[in-house]
Symmetry: C2
Subunit: 207 residues, 2 copies
C-alpha cells in the first residue's frame, strides 16, 4: 500500500496514522471517506480541530478542560465546594460525572507519577491542589486514581503533602463489581472486599 | 460519557465520531491525544485535510486521485498505454501497483453498479471508459472488480458496452490463493480453479 498516487493524499494519511491505534490502512480508509464528503464538511472537520486546540482553556481552579476561565463544574453554585475529587485526566471527570452520584468539585492532575515515563510530581497539578486546600474551603479530598503501582505512588505522595492540613483524605471503595461473579474477581480485590465488608442494610439503601 | 466539560471538545469528538468505524469513546481518545500535541502539529493535521480536499484533482484520463491534471501513472512514458485495468476505486489501484506486476494504465470507476444503493451506470465513469477505448490506443481492457453480484453486473455491463470495439476484454484469474489450503477454499473457487487449471511448467516460471 505504499505507492500513493498523490502527495496530498499521502500527507493526509500520514497525519491520521500518527493517531494512537490508527494504522496506515485505517488511515487511508478514513481519508478516502473524508474525500467523498462535501468540501464544506471536510473544512469543518479540520477547522474544528484547529479551533479546539487554539481556543480551549484549562479551568484555573480544577485544570479541567473548559471553554471559559472557570469551568462549568467549578462555577456551578449547586456543587459542594468542600469536596475535591482528585483524578488523573478529563476522561475520569466525565466517567464520574456520568454516574450522577457526586456533587463536589474535581482536581485534574494531568497524569500520574511515573518515573519510567519521566513524569515526576512537578509535572503534575499537585502544587495547585495543595494551594486549593490551603485556602481553607476544602474539607475532604477524594483520591480517585487508578489502582496501579503508579496510582498508588501518586496517592501516597498527595496524602503526605496534605498531611499537615485538617481535612479528610478518602479513596474510592474497592470491592467486587456490581454484576461481577466471585470466581472471576481477583484475590486482592476479593480479600479487600471481605475486610471492608459493609452493613447489608446500608448496602440495600444505596440501590 | 455524555457530559462534556467543553463545547469545543464536544464538537471535535462529534466530527471524529462521524468517521466510519470510529465510535464516541474512540473519538474522545483521539481528540484528547491531539489536545496533548503541540498547537503547530494540530494545525498541520487540520490544514492537511483541508488542503487535500480543496486541492486534490482527479486525473482527466483515468479518474484516479492526482496532484496534477494527468496522474503520474497515465503520464509515465514507460507504461503500456494499450492496456487499461478497470477498478472500483483508488485503493484497488494501490493494491495492484504494490504487486509490481502490471505495467498498463487504469480506469477508476468510482464504484460499482448497485441498485440497492441507488448507484446506476450513469453515476460511474463508464462513459469515459468507452470514450477512451474509442480513441483507438487501447487494445485490452482488464476487468478487475470485486467478485460480488454487483461486481459481476458491472463487469457484464461494461463488457456489453465494449462489445462493438475490436479489443480484448479480460478479467483477473480466479483460483486458490497462494498459501491457501484446499479444504478452506470455497467450492465455486475450487471448481473454477480445476476448470481453468494451468500448465505446471508455466506456473513455476511465474514464481
Amino acid at each position: 500500500m505504499e505507492s500513493f498516487p498523490s502527495k496530498l493524499l499521502e500527507n493526509a494519511v500520514e497525519e491520521f496514522a500518527k493517531l494512537p491505534g490508527i494504522g496506515r490502512k485505517t488511515a487511508l480508509r478514513l481519508v478516502l471517506h473524508l474525500l467523498k464528503q462535501e468540501t464544506q464538511e471536510v473544512n469543518q472537520f479540520g477547522n474544528t480541530l484547529i479551533t479546539l486546540k487554539n481556543e480551549v482553556k484549562h479551568c484555573k481552579v480544577c485544570r479541567n478542560i473548559s471553554d471559559t476561565d472557570t469551568c462549568t463544574i467549578c462555577s456551578a453554585p449547586s456543587r459542594d465546594k468542600s469536596k475535591v475529587c482528585v483524578v488523573e485526566n478529563i476522561k475520569d471527570v466525565m466517567s464520574i460525572e456520568s454516574t450522577q452520584q457526586y456533587n463536589g468539585l474535581y482536581h485534574v492532575l494531568g497524569g500520574i507519577i511515573s518515573p519510567m515515563d519521566g513524569i515526576g510530581p512537578a509535572d503534575l497539578e499537585i502544587a495547585s491542589l495543595v494551594s486549593r486546600v490551603e485556602e481553607g474551603t476544602v474539607k475532604e479530598v477524594i483520591l480517585a486514581l487508578s489502582t496501579t503501582m503508579e496510582g498508588d505512588t501518586t496517592n501516597f505522595y498527595i496524602f503526605k503533602k496534605l498531611a499537615a492540613f485538617d481535612i479528610k483524605v478518602t479513596t474510592l471503595a474497592r470491592g467486587v463489581s456490581i454484576g461481577g461473579e466471585l470466581e472471576y474477581t481477583d484475590e486482592v480485590t476479593l480479600g479487600r472486599s471481605i475486610i471492608n465488608r459493609t452493613n447489608f442494610e446500608d448496602s440495600i439503601k444505596q440501590i
